[in-house]
C-alpha cells in the first residue's frame, strides 16, 4: 500500500514539475528577449505579402537583410502570400493585440477596422516627430484612408490590371494584337475568329476568380470619375452600369468564349491553358508578368533557364473599351504600403527602428527594385534601365506608357459579404439561374446594411 502512496506522490511530483517546467520555460524566453534588448539591437516584427510566389519575395529578403546589416537590428519576418486568410490573420492579430510592429498591407477598405481602432500611426503624426519620414514620396499620390482621409501607408510598388495575349494563338486565328483603340465590338469579332480557329478566346475561371472580368465589365459602363462610386440601387445610372456589366459577361459565356469548364475550373487551370497556347486572352494584374515568365522557365525558380522564344509569344495590352471608358483607362494604383503600428510607436526602442525600417524600404534606391514596371509614388523616380528587364516586362512598360488613367478597383471598396452574390454567384448569373439585376441588388443591399 505504501508503494501505491509513493507512486501517487511521484505522479503528483511529475505533474507539478511539468507545470513548473512550462512556467520556467516562459521565464527563460522573457529573459532572453530582455537580454537582447539590453545589447541595443531591436527585434522588429514585420508582416508583408512579399512571400511565396510573390515576384518581390527575394527582393524583400535581400532588402531587409541589408537593413539588418546596416543597423544591427533584427527583422522577425512573418510575411505570407496575400490572400483572404492573410487578410483575416492581420485583422485578427489587431483584434487580439498581437499585431506586428510594421505591416505592409492594403490601404483600402481592408484597413478600415484597425485604422478606426487607432492601431496604426498616420504619416502626418510620424512626420511631427520625424519630418523626413516618406519625404521622398509625392504626397498627392499616397492614397488616403477611407476612414478619416489621412494617409497611413507609405507605398512601394503599384499595380495595374490589363489584358495579356498569347500571340501564337492570335497568329493562328489571324487576329492582330489589339492596340490602344480596342473596342468591345472588335473584341467580340476577334473572339469569334479565335473560337472558329479551334481555340478558347478567353482564359478565365468564372467559378473561381471572376474578379478581373467583373471589374472591367463594370468599368466599361461607368467612367473614370465615378467608377469607385458604389451605386445606391440598380435603378441609378451607376447601378444600371453594374447590371449591364454582368450581362456582358453572361453574353460572353453564352457565346462560348470562356473555357468549356469555366464554371468548374480553377484559376491555375485556365492560366495553364493560356500559357500552353490554348487560350488567347487573359485579364490579370501586373503580378502575372512574373507568373508568365516563370511558366517560360524550365526551372521556375531560376531566371537563367528562361526560354526567351516562348516568352516572345506573350504580350500585354489594353482591355477592350466602350463608350464611357477608353481602352487605355486601366485599373491600378498604389493599393498597399508600409504601416507603423501604435504598438511599435509606443515602444521607445521600437519606434526608432520602425521608422528607420520603413524609411529604408521606401527609399529612392529600394523602391525601384520593387516597382519595376509598375508605378510608384517617388518624387524623383530614377530612369529605367531596360537591360535589367525581360521582354514581357519591357512590353508592360510600353503598354503602361500609353495608359491614359489609372483608377482603383471598386471591388476594394465593395468588399466582403456584399461581393458574394456577384463573385461567388457569377456562375448563377451567367447560366441564368439568377438574373444579373437580382444578384447586383442583393450585393448592394448587403453593402447598405454594412
Amino acid at each position: 500500500m505504501k508503494l501505491k502512496k509513493i507512486t501517487a506522490l511521484l505522479l503528483t511530483c511529475t505533474m507539478a514539475f511539468s507545470m513548473a517546467a512550462c512556467g520556467s520555460k516562459k521565464e527563460v524566453a522573457t529573459e532572453t528577449k530582455g537580454a537582447g534588448s539590453t545589447t541595443g539591437s531591436v527585434e522588429l516584427e514585420v508582416v508583408t505579402t512579399f512571400a511565396g510566389n510573390d515576384g518581390n519575395a527575394q527582393n524583400y529578403k535581400a532588402s531587409y537583410e541589408a537593413w539588418e546589416r546596416e543597423t544591427g537590428n533584427t527583422v522577425v519576418d512573418m510575411s505570407a502570400t496575400s490572400d483572404d486568410s492573410f487578410k483575416t490573420r492581420v485583422v485578427t492579430d489587431f483584434e487580439t493585440g498581437s499585431e506586428p510592429d510594421v505591416l505592409f498591407f492594403f490601404n483600402g477598405a481592408d484597413a478600415n477596422d484597425f485604422i478606426k481602432a487607432g492601431k496604426v500611426i498616420s504619416i502626418e503624426d510620424i512626420r511631427a516627430e520625424y519630418p523626413e519620414y516618406a519625404s521622398n514620396m509625392d504626397d498627392g499620390r499616397i492614397p488616403a484612408s477611407m476612414v478619416d482621409d489621412k494617409a497611413y501607408a507609405v507605398p512601394v510598388n503599384g499595380y495595374w490590371e490589363a489584358m495579356f495575349v498569347n500571340t501564337e494563338v492570335l497568329d493562328a486565328a489571324g487576329v492582330e494584337v489589339p492596340g490602344a483603340d480596342y473596342t468591345w465590338d472588335a473584341f467580340l469579332a476577334d473572339c469569334e475568329k479565335i473560337k472558329d480557329a479551334g481555340y478558347t478566346p478567353i482564359a478565365a475561371a468564372l467559378g473561381n476568380i471572376p474578379h478581373y472580368w467583373w471589374e472591367f465589365a463594370i468599368f466599361n459602363h461607368t467612367t473614370v470619375e465615378d467608377h469607385l462610386t458604389v451605386p445606391a440601387s440598380i435603378e441609378d445610372e451607376i447601378g444600371k452600369g453594374w447590371v449591364a456589366g454582368m450581362e456582358d459577361i453572361k453574353s460572353l459565356y453564352e457565346s462560348g468564349y470562356f473555357p468549356d469548364n469555366t464554371l468548374s475550373a480553377t484559376d491555375d487551370e485556365t492560366f495553364a491553358m493560356f500559357v500552353d497556347g490554348k487560350a488567347a486572352f487573359l485579364i490579370d494584374g501586373s503580378w502575372k508578368v512574373g507568373g508568365i515568365v516563370s511558366a517560360c522557365q524550365s526551372d521556375p525558380d531560376d531566371a537563367a533557364t528562361l526560354d526567351t522564344d516562348k516568352l516572345a509569344n506573350f504580350d500585354v495590352t489594353y482591355v477592350p473599351g466602350s463608350d464611357t471608358r477608353k481602352a487605355t483607362d486601366l485599373i491600378g494604383g498604389l493599393s498597399m504600403g508600409y504601416y507603423i503600428t501604435k504598438k511599435a510607436w509606443d515602444d521607445p526602442a521600437k519606434r526608432e527602428a520602425a521608422v528607420s525600417f520603413v524609411s529604408y524600404m521606401t527609399s529612392d534606391e529600394v523602391v525601384p527594385i520593387f516597382a519595376q514596371h509598375t508605378a510608384s509614388a517617388l518624387k524623383n523616380a530614377p530612369e529605367v534601365d531596360e537591360e535589367a528587364f525581360n521582354a514581357l516586362q519591357i512590353k508592360a512598360m510600353s503598354m503602361m506608357a500609353g495608359c491614359t488613367s489609372l483608377t482603383g478597383a471598386v471591388q476594394d471598396v465593395f468588399n466582403g459579404e456584399c461581393r458574394v452574390s456577384t463573385f461567388d454567384g457569377m456562375p448563377e448569373i451567367v447560366t441564368g439561374n439568377v438574373s444579373a439585376a437580382d444578384a447586383v441588388q442583393e450585393g448592394l443591399d448587403v453593402y447598405a446594411a454594412q
Binding site: K5, A8, T88, V91, D113, N208, S264, P427
Partner: protein, 295 residues
C-alpha cells in the same frame, strides 16, 4: 487503514482536473459561445459580436430559406448512403475475399489500409490531377482509348460522383481492417462443421459469417454514418466554395464557406449548431437501427 486508499477518491479529482480544464477551455466554452454567437451580429473573423440580430433568431429563419442549406443537407445524406454502401459494403466484400485466402492476407491488409495514412489534403490534390479537365490522368487515358472530347469530371453533372469517389476510396481500408478483425474472431470449427454438413461457400457466408459479424458491421455502420457528417477536407480541396454552381456543398463545407469565405460568422455559427443537432439526432437514429445483438 489500508483499505481507505480505495475509498478516498480525492486524488483522482486532482488527476482528472487538468483534462477537464482543457476540455472546458477548448471544447465546452467554444461550444456554448458558438450557440450564443449564432444569435449575434458578427461580420468579421476575430471580432466579437456586440449586439443581437433583430430578431435574435434571424439566422435560423434564414437557414430554412437558404437553398444552399438544403443542397448541403441533401449531399450529406447522399454521402451517408455512399459511405454505408460504398465504404462498409466494399470493405465487407474485400474482407470476405481476403479472409478466404491463406497467402498474402497481410499484404492486402496493408494495401487497403494505406490510403488512411495519407492526408486528405494530399489525396484531394492527387485526385484533382486525376480528374483534371485538360491533361488530367483520366481524360488522357480516355484519349488513348479513342475518345475525342474531354470530360469535365468536375462539371455540374459529374461533380457529386467525382467528389464522393475519393472519399469512399479513402476509408474503405479503415472498415476493411475492422471487419477482417471481426471475421478472424469467428471460430474455425463452425466453418469446418458446416463443410462437413455440405454447406457451400456462399451458404457459409450467409449463415455463419454475416450473423457472426453482425455487431462488427453495426459498429462500422454507426462510424460510417457519423463520419459522413464530418467529411470536410477532401471535398473542400477538390470543390472549393461548392463549385460548380454551389452544387457540391456538404454541411461542413457550407459552414466553413459562410464563416471563412463570406465572413458571415454568425450565420456560420448557426450552421454549426445545426450540424451538431443533426449529428446527435442521426447518431441516435443509427444506433437504434443498427443495434448490436447479444449472443
Amino acid at each position: 487503514m489500508d483499505a481507505n486508499i480505495y475509498k478516498n477518491k480525492k486524488p483522482l479529482i486532482l488527476f482528472l482536473f487538468p483534462a477537464f480544464v482543457f476540455m472546458a477551455v477548448y471544447l465546452y466554452y467554444p461550444f456554448f459561445k458558438n450557440i450564443l454567437d449564432s444569435f449575434m451580429q458578427i461580420k468579421q473573423l476575430g471580432v466579437s459580436g456586440e449586439e443581437f440580430n433583430t430578431p435574435w433568431y434571424t439566422n435560423y429563419v434564414e437557414m430554412i430559406h437558404d437553398q444552399n442549406v438544403w443542397t448541403s443537407l441533401k449531399n450529406t445524406l447522399i454521402m451517408m448512403v455512399v459511405t454505408l454502401v460504398g465504404q462498409v459494403g466494399i470493405a465487407l466484400i474485400l474482407a470476405l475475399m481476403v479472409d478466404n485466402i491463406t497467402k498474402g492476407a497481410k499484404l492486402f491488409r496493408t494495401l487497403y489500409f494505406f490510403p488512411i495514412v495519407v492526408s486528405a489534403t494530399a489525396l484531394g490534390l492527387l485526385f484533382n490531377l486525376i480528374f483534371l479537365y485538360d491533361k488530367g490522368m483520366l481524360n488522357q487515358f480516355l484519349e488513348v482509348l479513342g475518345r475525342k472530347t474531354l470530360i469535365d469530371w468536375k462539371g455540374e453533372h459529374l461533380a457529386l460522383f467525382t467528389m464522393m469517389l475519393p472519399v469512399m476510396w479513402q476509408y474503405v481500408g479503415f472498415y476493411f481492417v475492422i471487419i477482417i478483425t471481426g471475421l478472424n474472431n469467428i471460430p474455425e470449427e463452425l466453418y469446418e462443421a458446416a463443410s462437413i454438413d455440405g454447406a457451400t461457400k456462399l451458404q457459409r457466408i450467409r449463415y455463419i459469417t454475416l450473423p457472426m459479424a453482425h455487431n462488427v458491421l453495426c459498429t462500422c455502420a454507426v462510424l460510417a454514418v457519423t463520419g459522413a457528417l464530418k467529411v470536410f477536407d477532401l471535398p473542400w480541396i477538390m470543390f472549393p466554395k461548392g463549385m460548380p454552381l454551389k452544387s457540391t456543398f456538404l454541411t461542413g463545407t457550407y459552414m466553413y464557406y459562410q464563416t471563412m469565405e463570406v465572413k458571415n460568422v454568425d450565420y456560420g455559427a448557426a450552421l454549426a449548431v445545426m450540424i451538431v443537432i443533426l449529428g446527435v439526432v442521426l447518431s441516435k437514429v443509427v444506433n437504434t437501427i443498427f443495434k448490436e445483438k447479444d449472443y
